[in-house]
Subunit: 132 residues, 3 copies
Amino acid sequence: MNQIQLSTAKKTEFIDITTKVERIVETSRVTNGLCVIFSPHTSAGLTINENADPSVRKDIINQLDKIAPRGANYVHLEGNADAHIKASLLGSSLNVIIKDNSLVLGTWQGIYFCEFDGPRQRKVYVNIIGDR
Amino acid sequence: MNQIQLSTAKKTEFIDITTKVERIVETSRVTNGLCVIFSPHTSAGLTINENADPSVRKDIINQLDKIAPRGANYVHLEGNADAHIKASLLGSSLNVIIKDNSLVLGTWQGIYFCEFDGPRQRKVYVNIIGDR
Amino acid sequence: MNQIQLSTAKKTEFIDITTKVERIVETSRVTNGLCVIFSPHTSAGLTINENADPSVRKDIINQLDKIAPRGANYVHLEGNADAHIKASLLGSSLNVIIKDNSLVLGTWQGIYFCEFDGPRQRKVYVNIIGDR
């Protein structure tokens, strides 16, 4: 199992981890298989979405804020209930297929760590399953 | 493949299945690999979120009720369309990495079966992939 | 890795790909393992939900339109920001367990490709992991 360390800078932020995950796949020498990416946090998630126009990430972040507004009337008293809800909506794990020792992603797809309660020190676990 | 049997008691309820999944991993004797958890139901889902303060689960449940209200003007006539929508939003499968014959979860993470149309008899499938 | 080719006909449409995925599993001759289904698109997603009453899909589509309305005031200028948001909410990959060379799905579960920005030519990748 491999780890990616991240320092997030804002309350809400999507960080592109595609290159870091790709390097872990290369180092594994696994030719064909599965790359599992996992966030061990409950106020952050993971998603795959557009890597070209950064406005797409802004729209996802803004709309998630409408779905689960910050500072709404939540029961949880730590002030970050919205972050927990957003984490469950996006999920805490991703699957990407590995072919020829490389991630199989669409042209416009990037892998994003989704901070919803930063700034914080965060980590992402990556596991590679398959044959060398 | 292993099965967990559950009896849910309410219309909407998150049930912590972490210990049951952990036991399946131990019994499998798989040292390193992947644990796949799957809900075969269309009006229930799965999520990983905070295991400490139960108010987090309440906030997730309440906010999902705002996103897909019970009794709104749905086409589906069985009265549980909200449950189907919530199931798709959270998803029906989870991945957790296995290391040293144990689930790799964050300190505050628990694995939850998310009942949206109970009370019912439910089951969860667990598959362990990896080397003993 | 296997590919399913799809031609979508509408802006928003859920297409049942269960039979196509099942055929790939059969051809693989893998007895027990995992079937990973992946959408390489950023304005389409994947979900598992009810295969009987088509009104359930309509309700999911309609409610996603309320969560992320078409033509709302988005930053992304291509007019399909809602599709990107919906793709992240449902996710771009699915796991289904394989047992006895067959997908393990619940009685009412079907696997759906979720077009949010059609009509388009689309594809879905399917990877089978396990022992023959």
